[in-house]
């Protein structure tokens, strides 16, 4: 059992009070698993991704635990968390293009970073990993501004996985890319796992069809809570949560064409405010099958092998 998250709550502090961006999530990620974490903006997916490695200044760990390979991650304690970062948990940030110090050559920066973490780095190993992502070793002698955006992103991928972390969080790494680059980046993520450089991975994304291509399981979040988690194939073909269903049916797949009488439609309404969310199921207001019981929060229960849903009607 690689990662176990139990009832995690992380709030944002704002002027008007706490924004309950992550309000009690419980799940596990197995060794070797790539889990896609999908959701729309405001769903809490990025908050979840960030809170597993570094809470930013406004985020506050309110409750719940995170366990990685049997050790509890002190995610609310920035200083104690340092021991885990990079070695055990690592991240490919969304801002990969600007993640490298502009005034240091890549090779020197990597060497200084490793030295600062007390790790000796074999040059041969570094080069092997550059090869793996298709970079020549000359990039080590370059400044970031001399590399293209995609090269920088691959450099970041190599750096983040240098210490073979148990868990890698890839935060919206494909969202700013063209389709062909998306495919290549997704392929590289798979390679990192297959080559054993990372044990398991959480791929945070807003694009279910993309994450379906590489993920073993997909977890869908809505308004700070989990909606559904299932093996990728199951989630896409047999979604049980009404939100997941509507989301998937709103995707214009290749080959689907607009027709006057049978056009696709989105989900009406908008997510509830997280500053003071209503009780019960948070999807209730937009849900076509909501009923009285939805005023009570549905538990996130397993209804099939590896398939959990938070909906009272999921069993039907």
């Amino acid at each position: 059992m690689s990662l176990t998250v139990t009832d995690l709550r992380v709030y944002y502090r704002t002027l008007r009070g706490d924004v309950k961006a992550l309000d009690g999530v419980t799940f596990t990620v197995a060794d070797g698993e790539i889990m896609g974490l999908a959701g729309e903006s405001g769903s809490g997916k990025s908050t979840l991704g960030k809170s597993l490695i570094r809470l930013d200044g406004r985020m506050r760990h309110v409750g719940g635990t995170v366990e990685l390979d049997g050790d509890e991650l002190p995610i609310g304690d920035d200083a104690r968390m340092d021991a885990f970062r990079f070695h055990r948990v690592s991240v490919i940030p969304q801002y990969s293009m600007s993640a490298l110090n502009p005034t240091r050559k890549i090779g020197k920066m990597v060497a200084e970073l490793m030295a600062s973490r007390g790790v000796r780095l074999e040059p041969a190993e570094l080069e092997r990993r550059l090869d793996l992502v298709g970079l020549s070793r000359e990039v080590l002698d370059r400044y970031p501004m001399e590399l293209s955006g995609g090269m920088k992103q691959r450099v970041v991928m190599v750096i983040s996985t240098l210490l073979n972390p148990s868990l890698l969080i890839a935060d919206e790494v494909t969202s700013a890319l063209d389709v062909s680059s998306q495919k290549a980046v997704a392929g590289t993520l798979l390679q990192l796992r297959d080559a054993g450089l990372v044990t398991s991975m959480i791929v945070v994304t807003h694009d279910i069809s993309l994450v379906y291509q590489i993920a073993d399981t997909i977890m869908v979040m809505y308004a700070g809570r989990l909606a559904e988690k299932a093996p990728a194939g199951v989630l896409v073909t047999e979604p049980r949560h009404p939100y997941t269903k509507m989301l998937i049916s709103a995707l214009p797949e290749v080959g689907v064409r607009y027709e006057e009488d049978s056009r696709l439609s989105g989900i009406p309404g908008s997510p509830p405010p997280l500053l003071d969310p209503p009780g019960g199921c948070r999807f209730r207001d937009r849900c076509p099958i909501a009923f009285d019981r939805c005023a009570e929060q549905p538990p996130f229960v397993e209804i099939g092998p590896g398939h959990s849903v938070a909906c009272w009607k999921a069993g039907e």
């Binding site: 990079f86 801002y95 110090n101 502009p102 005034t103 050559k105 600062s116 400044y143």
Partner: protein
């Protein structure tokens, strides 16, 4: 690279051109007969001085000539190194008067600029580290940088010179001494040098410290810092990187501040009757010695331009991005 420096040199050339033109233009804007009124205002008794002034002004202005000819004559005299004769120290050539004063000004300015820059940046970066330090150091920095140079000079002279009696408050060396290379004389030089230096240093120090503190705070918000933090890099490494990146705009800032620093040195010299360019300017103004004033002005502009160019070169040497960008790699 050549293109970059070519551009800079063009700007400096144009600036010099503008400075000379200002020099030529301003007396002509004066109402009435400029030569007559300048001579009248100079209020000089000796007839030979009045005559010398008249000859020079008429030669320079040559009002009977076409205007472009007047302008070219002005440049011609300048390029010959002929800045005229000082009225105040008649008949010493202006160039000689300036040459005598320059070492004192440079002796004050260069150490004050370099030391305040280095110390201010270090201190600013240090202050940005801790909240309480930031909150105490910052107001001091603001008070220092808001202080008029001459006022701090007066305060120091009064407190350390007059009241405490530690330092002399006038001149560059004791009047009782003959300039020479004796230890005693050098000691006297240093003693007289210290207060003007200290007041220049302190005001500039405040400015650099605040600038650096602000830069560092912005740098610490940068993506590369976030990434390093996410990888658990120690604060030491992060601060080192942030400092290195923040120092670059501070180099540009140094170029921008040169004019202000020079002006500060001038008024500080006046407070301490320090025999540099500032004192020359004061004397020139009080004695209506316009040749000396113009000469000093041109000299200072030249100095600032050269210093700017030196800073440009340093910047290119220090910032890898400019080198990479100019090497034609793209």
């Amino acid at each position: 690279m050549r293109r970059y420096f070519g551009r800079k040199l063009l700007i400096y050339g144009l600036t010099f051109f503008v400075a000379v033109t200002i020099n030529w233009l301003i007396p002509r804007f004066m109402p009435g007969d400029p030569v007559q009124s300048l001579i009248a205002r100079a209020n000089i008794a000796q007839p030979e001085v009045v005559e010398a002034m008249r000859v020079r002004y008429e030669g320079l202005f040559g009002f009977d000539m076409p205007i472009w000819q007047q302008y070219f004559n002005f440049w011609g005299a300048l390029l010959d190194g002929d800045l005229g004769v000082s009225i105040w120290l008649f008949p010493t050539p202006v160039a000689d008067v300036i040459t005598r004063a320059v070492p004192y000004t440079l002796g004050l300015l260069i150490p004050a600029i370099l030391l305040s820059w280095v110390a201010g940046n270090r201190f600013g970066a240090f202050a940005a580290r801790r909240k309480w330090l930031d909150n105490t150091a910052l107001p001091i920095g603001y008070v220092l940088t808001a202080t008029p140079y001459m006022w701090l000079a007066i305060l120091l002279a009064w407190a350390l010179g007059i009241i405490a009696g530690i330092f002399p408050v006038a001149g560059a060396y004791s009047y009782a001494m003959q300039p020479g290379w004796s230890w005693e004389f050098i000691g006297s030089l240093l003693q007289h040098w210290f207060l003007p230096f200290a007041s220049l240093f302190l005001v500039a120090f405040g400015g650099w410290a605040i600038g650096m503190r602000n830069m560092i705070i912005y740098e610490l918000e940068a993506d590369y810092v976030n990434y390093l933090r996410a990888l658990g890099a120690p604060g030491r490494l992060i601060r080192r990187y942030a400092f290195r990146n923040a120092i670059l705009p501070q180099i540009t800032g140094l170029a921008l501040q040169l004019g202000v620093l020079v002006a500060g040195a001038l008024v500080t010299e006046i407070v301490f009757s320090y025999p540099g360019l500032g004192n020359l300017i004061l004397q020139a103004i009080q004695n209506q010695d316009f040749f000396l004033l113009q000469g000093t002005f041109l000299f200072i502009v030249m100095g600032v331009l050269i210093a700017n160019f030196v800073i440009d070169i340093v910047y290119v040497l220090v910032d890898p991005r400019t080198r990479a960008g100019m090497g034609g790699a793209s």
